[in-house]
């Protein structure tokens, strides 16, 4: 992501104080713990933004899930803390999921990437249904030189990850994953691309265990490819 953004002329900084947005606890029902961690996220980023208020700054995140935590769920999590709502709004408005940032803010679908392969794209749930992003990633993939994008059946079906769901109900999770793998294999693609690490870890975990030779890549990795 750093490479892609820099190649497009974006100055990239990484705030080393940051750790986590708090979603794992939030999704597991531990809202007090989630609040502590999310509150830390808010203050770390707010401080960084305030240190240079005149500059046009965005927060870019290579995950639909973490991004939707900040953009969608923070306001629910902190519904009883009106003093934080301003800060949440400020941060939410400048936070973008990676593909969304490329397409909407930089107005770019061709980042000059090159990759030889047949790609199938998995719509991750939070990216698709919380952030409503599905066209952008496909436009970005289609603009990569040497790539053929082939849709799988049920491309918008959950892969079965769901955070702690995957270990709370592993059999259900894997049963959902089995169907996803079948769709991926049937698409005839040699590479699977998605924009969320959770899904990628889940899907790659099954492909690797079953020794299915399909490569798994984050969208950012694909966009950083510059051929062989």
């Amino acid at each position: 992501m750093v490479k892609v953004l820099r190649d497009l002329g974006v100055e990239v900084d990484f705030i080393e104080e940051q750790t986590c947005c708090g979603q794992p606890a939030y999704n597991s029902g531990y809202q007090e713990d989630a609040k502590a961690v999310a509150g830390r996220f808010l203050s770390v980023f707010d401080k960084a933004l305030k240190s240079d208020p005149d500059r046009e700054t965005y927060i870019v995140c290579p995950s639909g899930s973490c991004t939707s935590m900040v953009k969608v769920f923070y306001q629910d999590l902190f519904k009883n803390s009106p003093e934080l709502l301003d800060k949440i709004k400020r941060i939410k408005n400048i936070t973008y999921e990676f593909s969304e940032f490329l397409v909407k803010v930089l107005n770019t679908v061709d980042v000059g990437a090159e990759y030889n392969g047949i790609i199938t794209y998995h719509d991750s749930c939070h990216l698709l249904r919380e952030l409503r992003i599905n066209e952008g990633p496909r436009q970005l993939i289609n603009s990569v030189k040497g790539v053929e994008l082939r849709e799988m059946e049920m491309h918008d079906a959950c892969c079965g990850f769901g955070g702690t769901f995957s270990v709370k109900f592993p059999k259900v999770s894997v049963s959902m994953l089995d169907e996803k793998i079948e769709c991926i294999v049937n698409s005839g693609a040699d590479t699977l691309v998605s924009a969320d690490m959770g899904c990628l870890m889940n899907i790659e975990g099954a492909l690797s265990r079953r020794e299915i030779p399909i490569k798994v890549m984050h969208l950012a990795e694909l966009l950083a490819s510059r051929g062989k």
Binding site: V2, R6, F14, E16, E17, T19, C20, P24, A25, Y26, N27, S28, G29, Y30, Q31, D33, A36, V37, R40, F73, D76, C125, H126, R129, E130, D156, A157, C158, G160, F161, G162, G163, T164, F165, S166, V167, K168, F169, P170, K171, V172, S173, V174, S175, M176, L177, E179, M201, N202, E204, G205, A206, S208, R209
Partner: protein
């Protein structure tokens, strides 16, 4: 009978290994899903209709006290009787007593989730009153002594062969293979039941406060017969089924049929306002409306989860749920399954009776997208998860709770302290060594991580953390 025992993990495991069930689930959810998508896409203002329906439900539920009183007055005005039931026992008692007062020996029933909820059939049986389900799916599962596994298709867990065997065994007929033959048998049996029944029990899809009309939507004509042939008609209706005005029906019928089966309209839609009138040649002489609370007013109290009561029981959330698709209805342990079951069962029964259910979702949000009244399932599930965790001291959590809590606390500690976080990132590279394969994957981790690695590899931690890489990256372009 274990009907109230929620053992999601155990029961879903069983379902996943049941091959014929798996096939049936894929078939039925695919069929319903594509029918719904096709039907809704043909309505140009579908999204506006959903928004409008939600708005009406929101208003109705927020002012339920007012509308319920209005409904009662309207039903009485039309010559019907209204009964209030605070829970399942009271509702069953009321209905059985109506039967006893009318000297009823046999009862026919049309499909109703509310009657399943109060287990009305067993109350009739205890009172030695014969009760027959007349919806084909319900008839099948009554013969089998089972419970519905889908809100609108109760017997989808049974194969054609299951049903052929069941009919032959229970009805003393030859083994018929063709569905048409089986349906014909059921039809003949049921006709005589309709004619001899002293009472018909139905549910209702809607109850209109303004006019006292109850609306029953169906495809087989059995509900029309149930509500018109016997002398007494009893409708059991959950208090959330209200809509304020008669004119609201056009909107709700439009979205219900399309969301449920993808039909423009179901084959039969009955509008019932009170018992038969003087000039009517036929129709029931008595009409009783039994209004069922059974935990609903408790849901009303919570502003965060109140929208669970907007549900019109179309089943679209089940058909679009990837979890339901793989585990089927019985895994949810009670009448209501799929996403709607995951949110209302813990609320109706009490969260301590079904602490697993709010977690039985990957929060993918497909249900939210198709819900005709836009219930925000992920939001409600997250609120219920919080409630489960917060009432944990009452020892209601399943095994692994302690480990999970310790894990969350440890995670919180590490992400709140950057130095610890960095250190752990670094150390985990060395910790993983005993499990690391030559291909760089982790194959068999100890419990609880084994719940991942039993069937999936886990990626190993890179030697260089991102922060270390960032130090180099930063300098590259400065």
């Amino acid at each position: 009978m274990g009907y109230h025992q929620i053992r999601f993990e155990k029961d879903s495991d069983k379902a996943i290994h049941n091959e014929s069930l798996q096939k049936a689930l894929v078939n039925v959810t695919d069929r319903f899903r594509s029918a719904r998508n096709k039907a809704s896409s043909k309505v140009s203002d579908w999204e506006e209709l959903r928004t409008a329906a939600r708005k009406i439900k929101k208003d109705t539920i927020a002012n339920l006290d007012h509308y319920l009183v209005q409904l009662e007055e309207s039903v009485k005005r039309a010559g019907g009787k209204v009964h209030w039931a605070k829970d399942a026992d009271e509702a069953s008692r009321i209905i059985v007593n109506i039967a006893k007062d009318g000297k009823v020996k046999s009862v026919v029933k049309s499909k109703s989730m509310a009657t399943e909820e109060i287990e009305l059939n067993s109350s009739f049986e205890q009172a030695a009153i014969k009760v027959v389900e007349t919806d084909l799916g319900e008839y099948i599962i009554q013969l089998a002594g089972e419970h519905p596994s889908h809100i609108i298709a109760p017997a989808i867990h049974k194969t054609k062969d299951d049903i052929s065997k069941l009919f032959s065994e229970k009805l003393g007929i030859p083994y018929y293979e063709k569905p048409e033959e089986l349906t014909k048998v059921a039809r003949e049996k049921l006709r005589s039941e309709f004619l001899s029944a002293g009472m018909g029990v139905s549910g209702a899809n809607f109850a209109v406060a303004e006019t006292g009309t109850i609306v029953v939507v169906e495809n087989e004509g059995n509900a029309r017969l149930t509500t018109t042939v016997p002398k007494i008609h009893v409708a059991l209706v959950g208090i959330e089924k209200l809509i304020p005005r008669y004119e609201d029906l056009s909107l709700f019928l439009t979205i219900l049929a399309r969301s449920a089966t993808g039909q423009k309209s179901s084959t039969y839609v009955s509008f019932i306002t009170g018992p038969k009138r003087e000039a009517d040649i036929d129709g029931p002489e008595e009409f009783h409306l039994v209004l069922l609370d059974n935990g609903r007013s408790k849901i009303l109290e919570s502003e965060q989860t109140r929208e669970s009561l907007y549900c019109i029981r179309c089943g679209a959330c089940l058909n679009n749920c990837p979890v339901y698709r793989h585990v089927g209805g019985h895994s949810y342990g009670w009448v209501y399954s799929g996403p709607i079951g995951a949110i209302i069962t813990p609320q109706l029964m009490g969260i301590d009776k079904a602490p697993e259910l709010p977690f039985a979702s990957s929060l993918c949000g497909a249900c939210h997208d198709v819900c005709p009244v836009k219930i925000d399932f992920p939001k409600v599930l997250l609120e219920l998860r919080k409630n489960v965790i917060e009432s944990k001291e009452k020892n209601i959590r399943a095994g692994g709770a302690f480990l999970e809590k310790a894990g969350i606390k440890f995670w919180r500690f590490s992400v709140e302290h950057e130095t610890i976080y960095k250190l752990l990132n670094k150390l985990s590279y060395y910790f993983q060594t005993p499990w690391k394969q030559s291909n760089g994957k982790l194959r068999s981790l100890p419990y609880p991580f084994s719940r991942w690695t039993d069937e999936r590899d886990f990626p190993s931690v890179a030697k260089k953390t991102f922060r270390e890489r960032w130090k180099e990256l930063k300098d590259e372009t400065g």
